[in-house]
């Protein structure tokens, strides 16, 4: 047993000494004693702590304000094997709340510095860092984790990891999700004094895409106000950002909020415009904030949300208690307010209600795209009217046919008489189908059957 554990943890601290340490006494009270609130699959035992230290592998996405808190919380809670991904480097303005970083770290990778700090400070935890974008990894990477916890400020990134985890699900014959393929996603988010924490069990609970409207829309101002009747410093900055930058294109490049020269240019022009309209309050920081859509981060909000997320990781990982169900809103603007409720899973969710369906085809060499469309229109199962079909070949989108748009119809008409094989659609290829008769685009997996199997 000991040898097994050690082989898993090559390079990590010796768990046998750490497991006996007094530092885990309070965890032991939870993990080694049964209680009325424990989940039914919980067995009180010393092995629970051991699992926390040696078996559970947790991925933290983001090493910023929430990420620093999460890494610290998880490491101090006894988790022994963490990974962290972040593509950003450390900036001066991070140092007030991203406490794993020091002045000497400016310009270095957040993921690498955060991992180094935890590894030096918490001997029972080993953090592996990835200075990369989440999109740089595929399902073979994400499938190695038991639980993924996010501290992100980007909706695009959230939607991406959500889609990835849902695409990794396997389904049983009856259409239900194979629970062993579920990787729970714990998502934390903060904006100033507001925050939320949620537990997503892909395929079972509502997902990021189900509740896209819960994310506050980006602050935008009417273009005509910006152009003609500016009243706020933000109006002046937006004017320079949207209109003047394109007009004058001072650096022959798109505006980059991380380039100090760009920010300085916008700052000076915004100041001029603000003076014209007697508006005060333009600062370099504000200009940078507006360019990058930054909402000031509040350290205490981050701490609360990260703690809630880490607690959920702990509960999920050890089964010691039921999970939060499943979305908590928090704000500390005036006093403390929290409210937890389960948003409904959407029937038309493009991510989690869009289970790929099999479509049997006899012979890909004789079945043309036109035949396939006829099947979709005439079969009882689909009853489509004028389906638009796309696929992905070698990682690139390909429109197979779409009758609704004239220019696309003309350019894809030749595909109709081609066989599925000629179109590059192999056995198991998926096609995306939209139609007025369906609320969303659905995904079909082509299954080719030799004739003898597919007889009535």
């Amino acid at each position: 047993m000991a040898a097994d554990i050690l082989s898993v943890l090559s390079g990590s601290p010796n768990p046998l000494t750490s497991l006996n340490s007094k530092r885990w006494n309070s965890l032991r009270h939870i993990l080694e004693r049964p209680g009325p609130f424990c989940k039914s699959d919980f067995t009180a035992s010393a092995e629970n702590l051991e699992a926390l230290q040696t078996v559970l592998k947790i991925l933290v996405i983001g090493a910023g304000g929430l990420g620093c808190e999460l890494l610290k919380d998880l490491a101090m809670m006894g988790f022994g094997n963490l990974h962290v991904i972040d593509m950003d480097t450390i900036e001066l303005s991070n140092l007030n709340r991203q406490f794993l970083f020091r002045r000497k770290d400016l310009g270095l990778s957040k993921a690498e510095c955060a991992a180094r700090f935890i590894n030096e400070r918490v001997p029972t935890c080993h953090v592996t860092s990835h200075f990369a974008k989440i999109q740089d990894f595929d399902e073979s990477f994400y499938s190695q984790f038991h639980i993924i916890v996010c501290g992100l400020d980007s909706i695009v990134a959230r939607r991406w990891i959500n889609g990835m985890l849902i695409s990794m699900l396997d389904y049983n014959e009856d259409g239900s999700v194979d629970p062993s393929t579920i990787i729970p996603l714990i998502d934390g988010g903060t904006e100033g004094f507001k925050g939320n924490a949620r537990v997503i069990l892909p395929g079972l609970t509502s997902c990021i895409e189900c509740t896209l409207d819960l994310f506050p829309p980006q602050v935008t101002y009417p273009l005509c106000t910006i152009a003609n009747t500016p009243r706020l410093p933000e109006h002046c900055i937006e004017y320079v950002k949207i209109i003047q930058w394109e007009k004058e294109n001072p650096f022959s490049a798109p505006l980059d909020g991380d380039d100090p020269q760009h920010v300085a240019w916008v700052y000076e022009r915004s100041l001029e415009r603000a003076n014209q309209y007697n508006i005060s309050g333009i600062t370099y920081r504000l200009v940078q904030g507006v360019i990058k859509n930054i909402i000031p981060a509040v350290a205490s909000t981050n701490a609360v949300i990260a703690a809630a997320c880490a607690t959920e990781v702990f509960k999920l990982g050890t089964s010691c208690y039921d999970n939060m169900n499943n979305y908590m809103n928090f704000n500390d603007i005036e006093g403390i307010y929290t409210y937890t409720y389960p948003p409904e899973k959407s029937d038309t969710c493009l991510a989690c209600s869009n289970t790929p369906q099999d479509l049997n085809v006899d012979d890909p060499n004789t079945t043309t795209l036109d035949d396939l469309i006829k099947i979709l229109c005439e079969s009882q199962r689909f009853q489509l009217k004028s389906p638009g079909l796309t696929t992905i070949i070698d990682g690139k989108n390909k429109t197979l046919y779409m009758s609704a748009v004239k220019s696309i119809e003309q350019q894809t008409r030749a595909n109709l008489t081609m066989s599925l094989a000629e179109l590059g659609l192999y056995d198991g290829a998926s096609i995306m189908v939209s139609d007025v008769n369906m609320p969303t685009t659905i995904q079909l997996i082509l299954k080719y059957h030799p004739n003898e199997v597919e007889m009535k």
Binding site: C224, N354, V405, S407
Partner: protein, 182 residues
């Protein structure tokens, strides 16, 4: 509650699980725009052009109004749909220089649903109808080209003449327009 995983069960190393031949998955934005495009029900004054039929995220819309100040004109808009669609609206620019209260000479368009009133339930069709409406009912209350807006408010006949001059490719004020009559 479903038991998600057994703590005894070690997760396999990343590399061992790699599935070969796995195709990239369509993003939610891609699935949504496909539906929007497939259900584009254009008024007869509008047409779309997809330079690359495999790229549904970048396309052009041509509006040829058949009534109002801009009848017989031909105006081209470019649409750029980002990865955060429909949480964020597409970026729409007018590529034809036009003398219009709500469109500036750089092609920026002041249409509420393209910015502050955008909502994920809106579609590409909603934007097309919004743009078409701008040509039927230019709105001097929300000016982006202030001179044009002032002109529309103070002297409709002169505004109409200016619109025609611009569409014919003449100068209006200090601006030389490109001809865009059909």
């Amino acid at each position: 509650m479903i038991k998600l995983f057994s703590l005894k069960q070690q997760k396999k190393d990343g590399e061992q699980l790699a599935r070969t031949g796995q195709q990239k998955k369509a993003s939610a934005a891609q699935l949504r725009i496909q539906k929007d495009i497939n259900e584009l029900n254009l008024p007869k004054t509008c047409a779309t052009e997809f330079p690359d039929p495999n790229d549904l995220l970048n396309f052009k819309l041509t509006i040829c109004p058949d009534e109002g100040f801009y009848r017989n004109g031909r105006f081209v808009f470019s649409f750029r749909v980002g990865p955060n669609y429909p949480h964020e609206p597409p970026k729409v620019k007018c590529e034809t220089q036009v003398y219009h209260p709500n469109i500036d000479l750089e092609g920026n368009v002041c249409l509420n649903i393209l910015r502050e009133d955008w909502n994920p339930v809106l579609t590409i069709s909603s934007i097309v109808y919004g743009l078409q409406f701008l040509f039927l009912e230019p709105n001097p209350e929300d000016p982006l080209n202030k001179e044009a807006a002032d002109q529309l408010q103070s002297n409709r006949a002169l505004f109409e003449r200016n619109v025609l001059r611009a569409m014919q490719g003449h100068t209006v004020g200090d601006t030389q327009f490109e001809a865009c009559l059909k």
